[in-house]
Subunit: 344 residues, 2 copies
């Protein structure tokens, strides 16, 4: 199994990324890694983490680096030799099975969609984020890859989410919810009302609308929404969790008694942090592409990179893409099908 790692992207690149690949190589003996980046800029770190002459590491030079401020689609055209574009071409040519990137999400989405392309039957590749909730995790998709969606896209997201949930997370017969603003099928916006009708007809375990207030008590295993809503939501929740953390520090240090209490209970704060710990999840898959692509958080540390690589290996080993293609076909939710049924 060959995995390309974009070592140039992310807040702590290339050091944290390269260190993470070194850990992954130790932990997973059946993988080969192709590190894609500016060789001049990474050689120091390759030496430092013992990867310069590693038997399971090959290096591919990428002259350009995508900056966080770059616009995704412009990057694709103006920086043809960016590390993410080079990695995408390796995947397109069948030289690697999977890609890991913790850099500019938009650039990774654009490069893989344009260069690697979606699977047959898939119209849009969604980002599937695993989220913590009371009573277990749920998958939210699309977490930000596609801003303006049609009902068919949401239907396909449902299938991809359900398939991922079943085969990668091991959930038997996963339930699927549609993110909306009321439980009844009459509630929602034009998009969700249309999607509700499609989802109701599909051979999935559709549980109807899921409201925002039910999200973190885990109402369904999979929650479907468009990428604008998903992205705003995930980022806002991250922001709120950060604010609560800030307020906690504030209130627990206000006087010596509280401080003593906080010291006694300090391991509780650690437990609390661990619940939402992004490092553990190992990145967010961009589902439905002609190859496996895992996107990590920009702030990924070595452990998070190692876990993103682990997520890749699971997806490759369990042939998730074959399963997605089969399920999409089975569901009849392809553009061709919908078009011909509308023509009749």
């Amino acid at each position: 199994m060959k995995i390309a790692v974009d070592v140039m992207g992310g807040d702590y690149a290339p050091s944290a990324i390269i260190e993470g690949t070194a850990i992954a190589l130790k932990d997973f003996s059946d993988i080969e890694l192709v590190l894609v980046g500016h060789l001049g800029k990474i050689s120091f770190y390759l030496e430092k983490f013992g990867l310069a002459r590693h038997p399971r590491v090959s290096l591919v030079h990428a002259e350009e680096v995508v900056e966080m401020k770059d616009a995704s689609i412009v990057t694709l055209r103006s920086k043809k030799n960016s590390s993410i574009s080079v990695a995408a071409r390796l995947m397109k040519n069948g030289e690697v099975d999977a890609i890991v990137s913790v850099g500019h999400t938009g650039a990774a989405v654009a490069a893989t969609n344009v260069i690697v392309k979606p699977l047959p039957g898939v119209d849009r590749a969604p980002l599937a984020s695993v989220m913590p909730a009371i009573g277990g995790h749920f998958i939210l998709l699309d977490a930000g890859a596609n801003t303006d969606c049609k009902a068919l896209h949401l239907a396909q997201f449902a299938i991809m989410g359900e398939t991922y949930c079943k085969h990668i997370l091991g959930v038997e017969n996963p339930t699927v919810g549609l993110l909306s603003i009321g439980e009844e099928d009459s509630k929602g916006n034009d998009l969700t009302k249309e999607a509700f009708k499609l989802l109701s007809k599909m051979p999935i375990n559709f549980a109807g609308n899921v409201e925002g207030n039910d999200l973190f008590i885990k109402t369904t295993d999979v929650v479907v929404c468009d990428g604008f809503v998903g992205n705003v939501l995930i980022k806002a929740c991250e922001s709120l969790a950060g604010a609560i953390n800030h307020w906690m520090k504030d209130v627990f240090t206000k006087n010596p008694v509280r401080k003593t209490g906080a010291i006694l209970a300090r391991s509780a704060f650690k437990d609390l942090k661990a619940i939402a710990d992004a490092e553990e999840y190992g990145g967010i898959p961009l589902l439905g592409l002609n190859g496996i692509c895992i996107i990590g958080h920009g702030s990924s540390n070595p452990k998070a990179v190692r876990n993103a690589i682990r997520t890749c290996t699971e997806s490759v080993r369990k042939r998730i893409n074959e399963k997605i293609m089969a399920r999409i076909e089975e569901s009849g939710m392809t553009f061709k099908n919908i078009q011909s049924s509308e023509a009749n």
Copy 2:
């Protein structure tokens, strides 16, 4: 000043609502309240809280009650004599200056929009939610009144939010942000990209796009979005805060040492709760209607009802509607204007 209170809606109706009105009558000597509800069902509580023969209380009978499971628009037609519809008619006829309801939000939005109608120049009335953030509060609107919006609606929300923020919350020259998924004007969905152009031309302090991750560090005083996104967001954040609270209880009671710590720091937990305490905010205004309408949380207790009435008095006293009309006119952001500029 006359305020109609729908005493039938909400999780703890009519008891908590009537108790709240009794507190408001004591605290605000210049108000008269019109309690709208099923007189047979509320007489016990009127006696209990000393309102049966109160000089500043009048009673209006409403035969029907909107249930939480009722669909908003159906309710309006099939339950013409629901407490919220009766209250809306009182406002339409100029018999009251304001309405308070903590019941079915959708029903209140529908009844006031259809019966009371928006102000001249306003096309959609948004719910404006005051949210806590590090560094102060911000107003998010629309928080759920209008699911499918056009750019012009968002532009009008911006003006209404800015006007409310200035005159009611006392913020000099409030900044306005557009909720989106990237800072640049090129980022977002079709709606926000279009809205970005309008907002940039307006005589407001527009600060550009605000991302989800900036929300709770207070990037701007006002944040504008469509009602679907706003509603999902607010409810999801409420749900996440609830989940974090649940996890906190979990981790702080895991062993005796942590428990002792938690007991020492127990006042800190109270402080933390107070930050997000919905009771304090006194309900969410439904802005841009021919009258003042304040919607409270379904779980409103007497204090929250009292504060919702307080919010009403501020809006009436500060003639917020006149200011909104003037600002909408000034901005040129009316449907008529936009239409004629498109025709030219």
